[in-house]
């Protein structure tokens, strides 16, 4: 990575990547084993999920390829009927647990990233508007934020789920669940971004460089995007990282309450909901492996977020 060639135009500032690699952040990163290990785990898991078809043994989302008789095969033991052996065993439908986890993680991460992205975009836009313009825009947006805070995330999700179920055509129910989860989790999460962005914008907009930009006639949206936004990205990044972990857990929780991903296309959360039913019966692998994967994923992202917060907070140095 360090042998990245410099940008040919020497008059311009060093490339963004070069700047990043030279930055204090990267220096701190290389000094922190926690950060390095957790990011390795997170990146590893994310890659495995993204390229699930390459890593997986079977495609658990293709019901026609499943053999029910493979159900409940313990890890590393041949199935009593079919003689097939599975590295992490199989679940109640005869799906290979390892492959199902990879595909399930893909859904969990997709939901998590999309929800956070949605919350970040919504939060930044509304926060910038509120902070930059103030006045009634500010009152209106911040009051909306209060309304949002009035409803806890799980209730918001259940409400949206109920409404969406009523208005989406029946043929699209399968895909609907995922989008509803994204909408619900994202919608319950934008407020904190908006508040942080608004606060930072209030501080930044009175600084000299913004006044200067305004003086030379730059438009409001350009000022917000080019000048203010880059300066508030680090707190947003910190919150977004922690929100990602929260979103993945929230998806699992909603799945327990029956508003999660469908069982034919399970997310990690759905796998855990199904697996918890086999905790007492001795089929521990159906719960254990998905739960460990979720733990590893959420923990590494959380640790990374934690580290980022400390590293980006100059006062704690």
């Amino acid at each position: 990575m360090t042998d990245q060639p410099l940008v040919p135009d020497t008059k311009a500032a060093p490339s963004r990547l070069r700047r990043a690699l030279d930055s204090d952040l990267f220096y701190a990163f290389r000094r922190s084993p926690v950060a390095m290990i957790s990011s390795a785990v997170a990146v590893g898991l994310i890659l495995m999920a993204v390229f699930a078809p390459f890593f997986a043994v079977t495609n658990p989302f293709d019901p026609a390829s499943l053999n029910l008789m493979n159900g409940f095969t313990p890890p590393m033991e041949p199935n009593a009927f079919t003689g097939e052996t599975f590295f992490m065993g199989t679940d109640d439908q005869g799906r290979d647990v390892y492959s199902t986890i990879l595909y399930g993680m893909r859904i969990s991460l997709f939901v998590g990233f999309s929800a956070v992205l949605f919350a970040v975009v919504l939060g930044i836009i509304l926060g910038l508007l509120a902070g930059y313009y103030g006045g009634w825009a500010d009152s209106f947006i911040m009051r909306a934020a209060d309304v949002q805070l009035t409803f806890p995330a799980i209730l918001v999700a259940m409400l949206i789920f109920g409404i969406a179920k009523g208005i989406t055509p029946v043929e699209h129910r399968d895909q609907m669940a995922i989008w509803v989860l994204i909408l619900a989790i994202g919608l319950s999460d934008w407020v904190q971004f908006a508040r942080v962005v608004r606060g930072a914008t209030l501080v930044e907009k009175n600084k000299d460089y913004v006044s200067a930009a305004r003086l030379i006639g730059r438009g409001s949206s350009l000022i917000m995007i080019r000048h203010i936004l880059p300066n508030i990205l680090s707190p947003v990044l910190v919150i977004a990282t922690i929100s990602l972990a929260l979103a993945i857990i929230a998806e699992a929780t909603l799945s327990f309450l029956g508003v999660g991903a469908p069982p034919t296309q399970p997310s990690l959360g759905t796998l855990i909901r199904v697996g918890q039913g086999y905790l007492f019966s001795g089929e521990w692998w159906i719960l254990f492996f998905p739960a460990c994967t979720l733990l590893a994923l959420a923990l590494s992202v959380n640790l990374l977020g934690d580290w980022l917060r400390d590293a980006l907070n100059p006062r704690l140095k």
């Binding site: 009152s139 009051r143 209060d146 309304v147 805070l149 009035t150 409803f151 806890p152 799980i154 209730l155 259940m158 409400l159 109920g162 409404i163 179920k165 009523g166 208005i167 972990a245 929260l246 857990i249 699992a252 929780t253 327990f256 309450l257 959360g269 855990i272 909901r273 918890q276 905790l279 007492f280 739960a291 979720l294 733990l295 959420a298 923990l299 959380n302 640790l303 934690d306 006062r315 704690l316």
Partner: protein
């Protein structure tokens, strides 16, 4: 000042109207209560009769206005499932949830603050880092799984604590309490831990970061330079100054605890409002769902309002910026 408070009250009422409308609009989409209520052997005449009787044949806005009018009188109608006044059921179930929430909040506050202070003071210590990491494990697993694992360990394998319910309760007036019997206190332990774990982590981390912030302020440095003992500095000065944001968060989290009780109560069959709500969803018990959601939003709005007004009284600057 008065106009600010008035404005806030009007806004809060508006918020309630909107949330109520959103909540209520959901109900026309979530299945049909009629089938549940009549069972397999019923005729179309039965269905039509019942539909008219319940007012379900009217348009949704009409049903909503009717609901609001009644709700203003504390009358949420009758539960389709239990055939009793919703307000009566809610009064009956509220103590279970409130006791659970109170104990969870207490656990979260006591352990959250003390562990937060500890990890801040010993910022680079091994134990402190261990606690910080361990606390992350607690929030990296879904609540329902933690509850079931606790049941497995403490009820099934060790047989120490009950796996469900409130144990024996004592009725004092309208309030049923589990605090006065041994089985009641025992039954509280696992659900309270399950419910409080997340808030505890939250408080602990907040206290830690606030504490670290305060500890590097000049006046603490001066105090240290004056030779005050660490104990006095840490507790008399630093902790006291971290408490304002912590108390705000605790206030707001109280509502979240009651909302998250839905999951804990489902896992532990805790006979409170959360379980009532989940049952209501399964049985499409519209009056109960509506009443629960209205109640939760009233609670949150009141908490927000009180916090806002308190701030306004303490900090006059906020009065200006709130315009």
């Amino acid at each position: 000042m008065v106009s600010f408070i008035l404005k806030r009250i009007v806004q809060s009422a508006l918020v309630l109207l909107i949330t109520g409308a959103i909540a209520f609009s959901m109900f026309s989409f979530v299945g049909d209560p009629i089938d549940n209520m009549l069972g397999q052997e019923r005729t179309m005449e039965d269905v039509e009769r019942l539909r008219a009787q319940l007012g379900l044949d009217q348009p949704v806005p009409v049903q909503y206005v009717k609901f609001l009018k009644e709700a203003a009188h504390g009358n949420f109608g009758v539960s389709y499932r239990q055939g009793r006044e919703v307000s009566e059921i809610i009064m009956e179930r509220a103590p279970a949830t409130l006791e659970l929430a109170a104990v969870s909040a207490l656990l979260a506050v006591v352990f959250g603050i003390s562990l937060g202070v500890f990890t801040a003071i010993r910022r680079h210590g091994f134990t402190a880092n261990l606690i910080m990491s361990a606390s992350l494990i607690g929030v990296s697993l879904p609540t329902f799984l933690i509850g079931i694992l606790l049941i497995y360990l403490f009820s099934v394998e060790l047989g120490w604590l009950p796996s469900f319910g409130r144990g024996e309760v004592v009725q004092i007036g309208n309030w049923s309490t589990g605090f006065l019997t041994e089985s009641g206190r025992k039954a509280l332990i696992l659900p309270a831990i399950t419910l409080g774990l997340y808030q505890m982590t939250l408080i602990m981390r907040l206290v830690r970061s606030e504490m670290l912030e305060v500890l590097r302020q000049d006046y603490i440095r001066f105090a240290r330079a004056r030779g005050l003992s660490d104990r006095v500095i840490n507790f008399r000065h630093a902790l006291k100054n971290t408490m304002v944001p912590v108390i705000t968060i605790i206030g707001l989290q109280l509502g979240a605890i009651i909302a998250f009780a839905i999951i804990t109560e489902t896992v532990f069959q805790w006979p409170g409002l959360g379980l009532l709500f989940i049952n209501a969803i399964q049985f499409v018990d519209i009056p109960v769902m509506a009443a629960y959601l209205m109640m939760i939003s009233v609670m949150f709005v009141v908490i927000n309002l009180v916090v806002d007004i308190l701030y306004a009284m303490i900090d006059p600057r906020l009065r200006v910026s709130a315009k």
